[in-house]
């Protein structure tokens, strides 16, 4: 495989994983905190922070190539319980995102076919994805590249058209008052890039971890920074603020304003493109994580059941069922923004842990094989590791309405993750499968 094709595949995979239907929901949510050009500022700053984190992730991936990062890196660097807690929070995030994505798809479908019940459409897309994964069907690499490129190019072109046609200009009073709210907006904007780290599991050859993968993650983030920024700016130029924040699918009124009646159809087409990569790869990746945790002896044996096609049935069905149940709750009580914000806050903690893992492993395993080393200075790594959880927490309380609801929601999930961690840790203590951690890829010092 040609190197440029490999790089293009990684970049489009990372960008496509992050660019889902719920990205538009978050763009709408960001407008609840700040407006206009300040949304773009938050997106760019969040992108820069994520690029710094991707550099740490690349170093960890070069130490443990092809491993399921969130478990392996954190297990290598921290106590088993810390690793398990963060893994469970990450899995909760994936389930929340699957539910939100499904609901957003249902809303866009509803804008074209108003007769289709939202819950049915949301459960239908989850069911469809589960069946596709059970059959072991996989999107060819070329198709993955084409769909993501098409998605990004379409969004970018339409955003530029909106920017040139729109008439909105910044108000004279949009100064420090907006700037003060940017940190909370950054915490929320991190959500827009989540998924870039999945590239690390896809390395096609050992030396991919030396340059191609470390380069592909910031490129994927940069691609999305451009697309999201243009999109957010286009929304602001074309649509009144009240319309952007009125619903969680601002792309529908935006495309309608640009194209008239065909607008919702285009939004639906874009939804299919976005769901192609995010949803399918997400379920497959998540189910493999569940499978791997089961093989470690952490989860019950049925979670590792495979079918004759070699698809991890147990993991796919567990994840699909939990996503469907969550979708019922999200659709019934319209909790999409809340679910996305809580998920985003959890990932802020996981990303901070990645940064700390690099710092810790450099001390505890200085001799370990590393084909890539992050060039982010250590004081900056510390600063980001401390700032990220704070950004996540600030985004949690940044939405309008009672602050107690997102906090209570997050606490319920943290308590669930803590209980699961306690249970899983006890299982690993007694499991025959669990072996003491030792990194064989690390030469003797």
């Amino acid at each position: 495989m040609k190197r440029w094709f490999e790089l293009l595949f990684y970049v489009t995979f990372g960008a496509g994983m992050a660019f889902g239907m719920s990205s538009f929901t978050m763009l709408s949510g960001l407008n609840e905190i700040v407006t206009g050009p300040w949304v773009v500022v938050a997106i760019v700053l969040a992108g820069l922070l994520c690029a710094a984190i991707s550099s740490s992730v690349a170093e960890l991936a070069s130490m443990y190539p092809s491993a399921p990062g969130v478990r392996t890196y954190l297990k290598a660097a921290f106590d088993n319980r810390v690793s398990l807690l963060l893994v469970y929070l990450y899995l909760i995030f994936m389930i929340l995102v699957a539910a939100v994505e499904a609901f957003m798809f249902a809303l866009v479908l509803g804008s074209v076919f108003p007769g289709v019940p939202l819950l049915l459409a949301a459960l239908g897309i989850i069911g469809f994805t589960v069946v596709v994964n059970l059959y072991g069907l996989e999107l060819p690499k070329t198709m993955q590249i084409v769909t993501t490129l098409l998605l990004i190019v379409l969004i970018t072109v339409l955003a530029v058209v909106g920017i040139t046609r729109g008439t909105q200009v910044p108000g004279a009073h949009d100064g420090w008052e907006q700037a003060a709210k940017v940190p909370a907006a950054i915490g929320m904007a991190v959500y827009l890039f989540i998924g870039f780290e999945w590239i690390t599991m896809l390395g096609m050859r050992p030396d991919s971890y030396k340059r191609t993968i470390p380069l592909s993650m910031p490129l994927a983030i940069a691609t999305n920074v451009v697309a999201y920024s243009l999109c957010a700016f286009g929304f602001w130029r074309m649509l009144p603020h009240a319309v952007i924040v009125a619903g969680t699918t601002p792309q529908v009124p935006y495309f309608t304003a640009l194209l008239g009646t065909p607008g919702p159809y285009l939004a639906l087409g874009i939804s299919f493109l976005a769901i192609f990569s995010t949803f399918n790869a997400g379920v497959m990746g998540g189910s493999r994580l569940i499978y791997a945790l089961t093989r470690e002896g952490i989860l019950p044996g049925w979670c590792a059941k495979m079918n004759e096609r070699g698809a991890p049935v147990g993991g796919i069905l567990s994840l699909g069922s939990l996503a469907a149940l969550t979708a019922v709750v999200v659709v019934t009580w319209r909790l999409e923004v809340l679910a996305a914000v809580i998920g985003s806050a959890f990932v802020c903690f996981v990303y901070a842990a990645f940064m700390l893992a690099v710092i810790k492993l450099r001390k505890t395993r200085p001799q370990a094989r590393r084909s890539f080393r992050t060039r982010v200075p250590q004081p900056l790594q510390w600063a980001i590791a401390v700032a990220f959880p704070l950004l996540g927490l600030s985004s949690l309380v940044s939405q309008p309405g009672p602050k107690s609801i997102p906090i209570a929601g997050a606490l319920v999930f943290v308590a669930t993750a803590a209980l699961l961690t306690r249970w899983s840790h006890a299982r690993t203590e007694t499991s025959k499968r669990a072996t003491p951690y030792r990194t064989a890829l690390e030469p003797e010092a």
Partner: protein, 122 residues
């Protein structure tokens, strides 16, 4: 049958694995349409091996590297590879422990894990 992993060579372990692989009817179902070269590369020993899987059979275990499109590339210390191919260490666990790296499509990783599960009942 490998009696003692410590004294067996990697080639012996792979040959033993090949016999188990070819004798297992459930494996044949699992690998329908799955023709691959599996490159097994020990990080602390000079010789890598290529296991060729074609037409529902592992046709050969040969020293040397065959790396083209569609190759599944496994890397680990020799001791770890021997434990994996004798059913002493689940490849999924080895991967999550950071003791092994597999460079391939995601589906191929799942397929390898499934084969190990069927052969060893891990």
């Amino acid at each position: 049958m490998i009696a003692d992993i410590a004294t067996a060579t990697l080639e012996e372990c792979l040959s033993d694995f090949r016999e188990r692989f070819n004798d297992n009817a459930r494996v044949k179902k699992l690998i329908a349409g799955w023709n691959r070269d599996v490159l097994v590369e020990p990080l602390d020993a000079p010789t890598a091996y290529t296991m060729t899987i074609e037409n529902l059979e592992m046709t050969g275990v040969t020293p040397g590297i065959s790396e083209g499109d569609g190759t599944v590339h496994m890397q680990a210390d020799e001791e770890i590879l021997k434990r994996i191919f004798t059913g002493d260490y689940n490849p999924a666990t080895a991967l999550i422990d950071g003791n092994m790296a597999v460079f391939s499509a995601e589906r191929d990783k799942v397929k390898l894990e499934a084969i190990a599960m069927v052969i060893w009942g891990l």
